[in-house]
Amino acid sequence: MRIQDVVASAVRNSFRNKLRTTLTVIAIFIGAFTLTITSAIGTGVSDYIDTQVTAIGTPGIFTISKATTPGIVSTGPATYDPNAAVSSGGSVIGPNGPTGLNGSLPALSKEDLATIGAVPGITAVNPLIAVTADYIQYANNGTYKLRVNTNAAISKASLAAGAQLDNSTADYQLLIPNTYLENLGYTDAVSAAGSVVTIGIKDYQRVAHTVTATVVGVQNDTLLGSGAELNTALLNELDSIQNSGKPATTAEGYSAATANFDPALSATDVQVLQKTLADSGYSAKTVADQIGTFQAVIDGIVGVLNAFAGIALLAAGFGIINTLLMSVQERTREIGLMKAMGMGSGAIYALFSLEAVFIGFLGSAIGALVAIGIGTPLSSFLSTTVLSGLPGLNILQFAPASIATIMGIVMFIAFVAGTLPASKAARQNPIEALRYE
C-alpha cells in the first residue's frame, strides 16, 4: 500500500464515527489549548524580562546584603547578639524582596562594607540609603504618600517623559512613577517633567521638615519596584534629615549596599565573584539575578499549569486508546478482509497508528488555533488595561517553534496511545476475523 493511500485511509477512517472522534478530539483540544496558553505566557514573560534586563539593568553592579541564614526552620532561632547591627529606615526592598515575617534583615555594618571593598574585583562599595519620606505635594494639590525606590542606583529608569537622574549635580532631582501623575494633579507626563514638588519628611525626633525638588522625568513601572527614584543629592539630604537628632550610640547599619565591578567581566567571572562574596557571608546579586527571581516564580506557575495540561493529555491518551480499540473491534472483518487480500501486518499497524496521530493532530491544531484566536486579542486587551502599568509586556506571545513543539508532543502521545490498538489490529488472524460476528 502506498504511503499516501495509508494516510488518506487513516484520515477517512477517523471520520467514520464522527461523534466518537469529536469527543476524543475535544479531550486532546483541552490539553493542547492549555499548553499553548501556558507556553505563550512563559514566552511573553521571559521576553518581557529579557527586555527589562537589557533596558534597565546597569552592568557591573551588585546589590549586596548579608546572606540570611536559612537555618531558622530546622534549628530554631539563632542566638541573640546585642552587638549585631540592624538596618535603619522603614520599608526596604532588599535584594531578597521585602523584609518578610522574620522581621528586619541582618544589616551591613561599616566593617562589612570595608570587607566587601577589599574583595579583589570589586572597584567600589556604596551603602544603599533607604529613606522614608512622609509625602509628596505638587502645587497645592494635596499631600500624597511617597514611596522611594531604593533600586535607583542599580538601574536605568524606563522613561515615559523627561530625562534620567543626574547623580553628579547638587540639585535635588527625582523621577516620579507615571501612576502618580493623576493624583498629584498633572495633566500628562510631559507637563510633569521640570515641575517642582515638595517632599515632607520627619527627623529622628519626629519633627517635620520639607524639601523642594525638581521632577526631571516620569518613569514607567518596572519589575524592580514602583516608587519614586531620587538622585544622590536628594537622597543624601533626606537621609541626613531623617538621621538628625539620632543618639550617637545607635549602631549604624545598612540594609544593603551596591558594589561595582568591571562591566566587561564574563558571566563565569561574575559567578566566581559572587561565590567569593557568598563565602564571606554576603549575598551579591546583579539586576538580572533579581529580575530572574520573578522569572522563577512565573516559571513555577507555568510549570504547574503545564502539569495540569499534561494530566489532561494523559487522560486524552486513554480516550484515544478507547476510541481506537472500539474502532478495531468494529472493523474486525474489514481487517480480516484486507489481510486476506494480502495487506501486511505492518500496513495495518500503520493504518491505525496514523489514525491515532491524525486525531492527535486535529486536537492539537484546533487547540493551538483557538488559543491563538482567543489569546491574541486578550493579550492586547490586557496590555492596554490591567497590565498598562507595565509597558512592553505582552503577557501572551505565541512562538511558532513552541506551538510546533506542542503539536509534536501531542501527536507523539497520540502515537503512543495508538500502539496498543494498532498492534491488536495487526495481530488479527484473517480467518478468525472473517468469521467474527
Partner: protein
C-alpha cells in the same frame, strides 16, 4: 508437463484447532492437486472441514501436517510478504457475507486489492471501472455499498475478486445469501469467467446443483475426503 499447469497441490495436509482435551481435528490428511483452468467444488456439511481446506489452499492459514505446494514449491519456504503478494495478485475471494466496506463507495470497494497492491490512483480507477463494467455495475460506481441489493453486492464482490486479474477465485458459499434466481446469475458469471478467462474456481458449497456444475467435486466428511467424482 503436468506440473506446469499445477497451481496448488495439497499433500496429506492436516489442521487441528485447540489444545489438549479440547483439541479438534478440522482436517486429517487431505490430498488435492489443482490444475490451472479447472473448477472444483468442495462439498460437505458444516464441520466437515471444507472451509478449513479452502483457507489452507488460499494460504490464509498454515497446515499442521503435510505439505502445501504453490507452483511446485512448499508454501512454508515463502516469506510472509511473498504469501501476501500471492494472495493479492493471484487470488480473488468471494464470500457468502460479501464483506464489503459498507460506507465506502462501490468503486472504492472494488479497488481495494489494487490499493493494497500499491497501484497508482489513476490506474486503480480505470481497472476498477473496467471490472464493474464487466459485471454491468458501472452506473453504481459512486453508490455506497450498503445501498445495494444482495445480488448487486455479490456482483461487486466478484468485480473486486476480478480486478487484479487473478489466476484462482476462491468462493465460500457464493450463493448462500441469495435467492435462487439471483444465485443462478452469480453462478453463471463465475463459470463464464472460468470458461472465457481460464480462471480456476475453487467453490466451497453445500448446494448440490452448484457443485454439479463444477468439473470436479471433493466430498468432505469429518475432516477427510470421502469420494472424488467427475461430473458430467
Amino acid at each position: 508437463m503436468a506440473h506446469v499447469n499445477l497451481i496448488l497441490e495439497a499433500q496429506d495436509i492436516a489442521k487441528s484447532y485447540g489444545q489438549g482435551s479440547s483439541k479438534f481435528d478440522a482436517l486429517s490428511g487431505v490430498s488435492l492437486a489443482v490444475t490451472a483452468g479447472e473448477s472444483i467444488a468442495i462439498i460437505g456439511k458444516s464441520g466437515s472441514g471444507k472451509s478449513t481446506l479452502m483457507h489452507l489452499l488460499a494460504l490464509l492459514d498454515e497446515p499442521d501436517g503435510g505439505h502445501l505446494l504453490v507452483h511446485g514449491k512448499d508454501a512454508v519456504t515463502f516469506k510472509k510478504n511473498e504469501l501476501n503478494r500471492f494472495r493479492n495478485e493471484d487470488f480473488g475471494f468471494v464470500f457468502q457475507q460479501f464483506f464489503l466496506i459498507p460506507n465506502a463507495t462501490v468503486l472504492d470497494n472494488v479497488m481495494l486489492p489494487l490499493t493494497i497492491a500499491g497501484v497508482g490512483a489513476r490506474e486503480r480507477r480505470e481497472r476498477g471501472m473496467a471490472a464493474l463494467e464487466q459485471l454491468e455495475l458501472a452506473d453504481k460506481a459512486k453508490s455506497k455499498a450498503i445501498n445495494l441489493s444482495g445480488g448487486q453486492k455479490q456482483r461487486v464482490v466478484i468485480a473486486r475478486a476480478l480486478v487484479n486479474n487473478p489466476k484462482v477465485i476462491f468462493a465460500d458459499e457464493p450463493t448462500g445469501n441469495l435467492d435462487s434466481a439471483t444465485g443462478l446469475v452469480v453462478e453463471d458469471i463465475l463459470f463464464k469467467l472460468n470458461r472465457e478467462k481460464g480462471i480456476t474456481l475453487i467453490i466451497v458449497t453445500h448446494d448440490a446443483d452448484l457443485a454439479a456444475r463444477c468439473d470436479r467435486q471433493i466430498f468432505m466428511r469429518d475432516g477427510r475426503e470421502e469420494t472424488t467424482g467427475t461430473a458430467k
